[in-house]
Amino acid sequence: MDGDKENVVQAVVIMDTFNSNLNPICADKPTGLLALAGVPLIDYVLESLVAGGVGEVILFSCQEPSKVREYVKKRKGEKVPWTFTLDVQILSSETCQTMGDVMREIDAAGLIRGYFILLNVNTITNVNFAQLLEQHKQTCKKDKGAAMTLVYKEVAWDHPLISNNNPIFVAADGNTNKILLYQKYKIKCRDNTLSLPLESVLHHSEVKLHHNLLDANIALCSPSVPPLFSDNFDFQNRNDFIHGILINEDILASSLYYTLLKGNQYAAAVTNWKTYHIICLDVLHRWVHPLSIETGSFYQNSYIFMGKHNYIKTNSVLSRSCSLIEDVIIGSESHISDMSSLRKSIIGDKSLIGKNVTLQGSHIMNNVVVKDNCKIINSFIDDGCIIEDNCILEGVIIACGAKVNTDSKLKGNIIEKSLNDKNEKTLSKSTSESGTEWENESSGDGDEEFVGFEKQWSDSESCYSSDSSAESSLPNSPVPDDINIFLQEVIDSLARGYEEKLKCDYLILEINSSRYAYNIQLNEVNFFVVRALLSLPILVDSKNVLVTVKDILKFFHPVLSNYIKTKSSTMDCLRAVEDSCIKNEWLNDKAGQVIHLLYNADVIDEDSLLEWYEDLKEEESEIVNQTSLVKFFEWLNQASEESDESE
């Protein structure tokens, strides 16, 4: 182990996830101290690093580094196995907000001697790191620019660890495992197409496509990685890095590789409460062997294995009539009373479970008191909480020290300690109405923030660990956003132009520049200009809408005639009118009149009108039966017949 300093394998562990997926439990304590199956995450990481042949580890802590330091010191005092062979350094910086900042700090500190392993504290794995790093070095011999090898575990495509994360799609060269395309996708999204550039297929004899990869936040890095982060200060997290490298492969002279874990090696990352629960059960089922529930408990095994994956500490107290159905861990000095039944649950130390309690898929930490007749499903209850009699909790996350009153019925709530007093009030009030009030109140922030066990993930929700929240919201709906901004800008320009009686040429120029700024297609511009005209703010308060519309059309005639020239643009214009009449309430029942005004202004011609009317009938549009519209077309038909006759 001591050997040459050069040969010691280095690892960097980032102690924070830089997101709020595990809030509120991880809001005031470092993520590394979150207990998974009774063992803090940091113990799993350090243990796995030792087992994987790592000799030196740098823990980089941004959130409450003093607690991490204290914990590591305590562990050293206890002589936990990893303390003998592992050289642990703790770096900290309160200012780092992202993983990119951390990498830049590490680069500035100059602690990295060569190739190193980069992982996050939420990684649970039993891989042989030294062997993987050796493999990465071999890759680097072949390709000098190889910056990073990403480590993935291949699992079944319908595995819950995939569907509860943001899964990734990777295209790679089949011979060298060089990554060509890296993209995240959403499982339940309707728009599930991915585009693979043709050259990536043409330039490589074999291309592998993977959609069932599990990312455990393990990366094998070349010495060039920290400087790359320093040079590109916009790299916020590992995804930025990956995308940046892939896009600017030639400029940065770097490339990415990936490797799949073979056979029995396990790797997964705790990214949200759902994955937390799944990984907990995996640890319990010994998939992560040799890491197990005994990992953190010194080197002594004080658990008794009861069959059916139930483990109890030797000094826990179980009533004769309580039943442990499957996958249960009970910590030391915990007490389970009569007739309680436990299933897929973890109970910490010194907790007290009352009579006739049902626990299912729940994680109960230390010193918790659950009183009689409670039913707790898929919940997380942190240290020192008190759950009073007859509560029904489902998908609830309770931060430490909170108290839930008698007869509460909670579903999908997050109860924080800081809001404790306020919450309690609401609770006692709502008990008579079976908690509906409370549910409604919390649903506001619950819908966005809630990352519990039970509720389904909505598609817009990002739960991936290394995403910063700003970035994750972008890919959801980038196109509609741009269009909305464009529409708003057009409305603003036109309104200003109308008020200040500006020249229409300038307005056209303004619209066109907006158009290029947001990359809007020409037909969309036509559509939105008309749409904007009919949505001008003055129309909203105008008493006689039609007169105002007439004025507007008259004023903006040059603008209209600039955009509405061809037949297709006329159709765009009509569709915009239809859209406006449906969406803008001040144009209710006035579709016919608006069309008439446009017809009189020579913006639209008769043929297009008739064609559009047919379309409306086919699509059964909302406005097709409006009296004004029907009247207008009757009039139009008559007029055309008359003109035919006169000819």
């Binding site: 002589k79 196995p81 699992v155 319908d158 998939w287 080197y299 002594q300 000094n315």
Partner: protein
């Protein structure tokens, strides 16, 4: 087992460090193979005895016993380590007895004198006498025995395996492999039943066949059909229990049951260090599970929803085994208790 929560104060910092290293080496799989574990345990105990500050028999026994408790608590499945602790304890007790006999002039004269003199003799025992040197001799002897155990077992192979026989064996075992190789003939036919570790079974088959032995690798499901043609079943064991029962790799029971049904003799190769003074009522050893990937790959979609039970050991009752081959020669299951009382002091059956 009575709960023994107190930490014995007999161990110093360095010894605890050594124990922790030893335990984590076994847990992470750096230390594998029964013989290696046995040797490592004995070396660890030797180190602890050498480092011990006090040299009286009592304190040495306490130190070794404390080590044994810690190891068995951390690794309840590693019976071999516990056996080695018992052997060393026995050595210390023997040495103390010899010393007592030496110092007591009247010892051994008559039974009555022995009984009457016992308490006073203990009191007058020279407590400053360094027991470590003779104990180290014992330990060296023990290490020698461990080293020689494989060859002395393999030396008996010629008596049991003859040309043209069909031999069935289960799973990969280095001892069985050497035993078969040293049978002095290549003309037998070996049916190697795949154990829980498929790759290792296959590797063993390859190694045997490069020696020119006729090996067929068969699936566990085929054992019943093949058994009528088999002349002998040779198995390696994880541990031999006090009643003559055997703890073997998961799946072994199916093989021995088939052998018993067809009255095929079963020979179990058990070096002395695998003899445990445990009885079949001790559940913790039989319930132990091996990692589930030995039964079901994580790749499969079922891994997320299924509970996978892959038992680590099978308990084979004594009447399934016809002959144990130890370092000292063949013995029947009913004779195991006798070997145990020769190897261990009854006081140490429970560490």
């Amino acid at each position: 087992m009575p709960p023994q929560e107190f930490n014995s104060p007999d161990l110093d910092e360095k010894s605890i460090e050594n124990i922790v290293k030893f335990v984590s080496d076994i847990r992470t799989g750096k230390l594998q193979g029964s013989n290696k574990i046995a040797v490592a345990t004995v070396s660890l105990l030797e180190q602890i005895i050498t480092d011990s500050s006090s040299t009286s028999a009592l304190s040495l026994v306490n130190a070794v016993r404390g080590t044994g408790r810690r190891i068995t608590k951390a690794l309840p499945q590693e019976l071999i380590a516990a056996n080695m602790v018992r052997r060393v304890l026995r050595a210390i007790r023997d040495e103390q007895r010899a010393l007592a006999n030496q110092s007591s002039e009247y010892s051994g004269d008559s039974l009555q004198r022995l009984v009457l003199a016992a308490p006073s003799r203990r009191a007058t025992l020279p407590s400053n006498h360094d027991l470590r040197e003779p104990i180290r001799d014992h330990i060296a002897e023990l290490l020698g025995e461990l080293e020689a155990s494989t060859s002395s077992i393999c030396g008996q192979a010629k008596e049991h395996i003859h040309a043209e026989e069909v031999i069935l064996t289960y799973g990969a075992s280095s001892l069985v492999e050497k035993f078969l190789k040293s049978s002095g003939t290549n003309k037998m036919k070996i049916l190697l039943v795949e154990g829980p570790k498929h790759a290792e079974s296959a590797a063993m088959a390859v190694r045997l066949s490069t020696q020119g032995v006729n090996v067929t690798l068969v699936n566990g499901a085929a054992v019943g059909a093949l058994m009528p043609r088999v002349n002998k079943v040779v198995i390696g064991v994880r541990s031999t229990l006090a009643g003559g029962a055997v703890l073997g790799d998961g799946g072994l029971l199916a093989v021995t049951t088939a052998a018993r049904h067809y009255s095929v003799p079963v020979i179990a190769l058990s070096p002395l260090y695998k003899l445990s003074p445990l009885h079949s009522c001790d559940h913790t050893h039989f319930n132990a599970l091996s990692p589930p990937y030995t039964a079901l790959p994580y790749m499969s979609g079922e891994s997320a929803v299924a509970q996978v039970f892959a038992p680590m050991c099978d308990f084979v009752p004594p009447d399934h085994v016809n002959l144990f081959i130890t370092n000292l020669g063949g013995s029947s299951p009913s004779y195991i208790y006798r070997l145990l009382s020769e190897l261990y002091d009854p006081n140490d059956y429970q560490i």
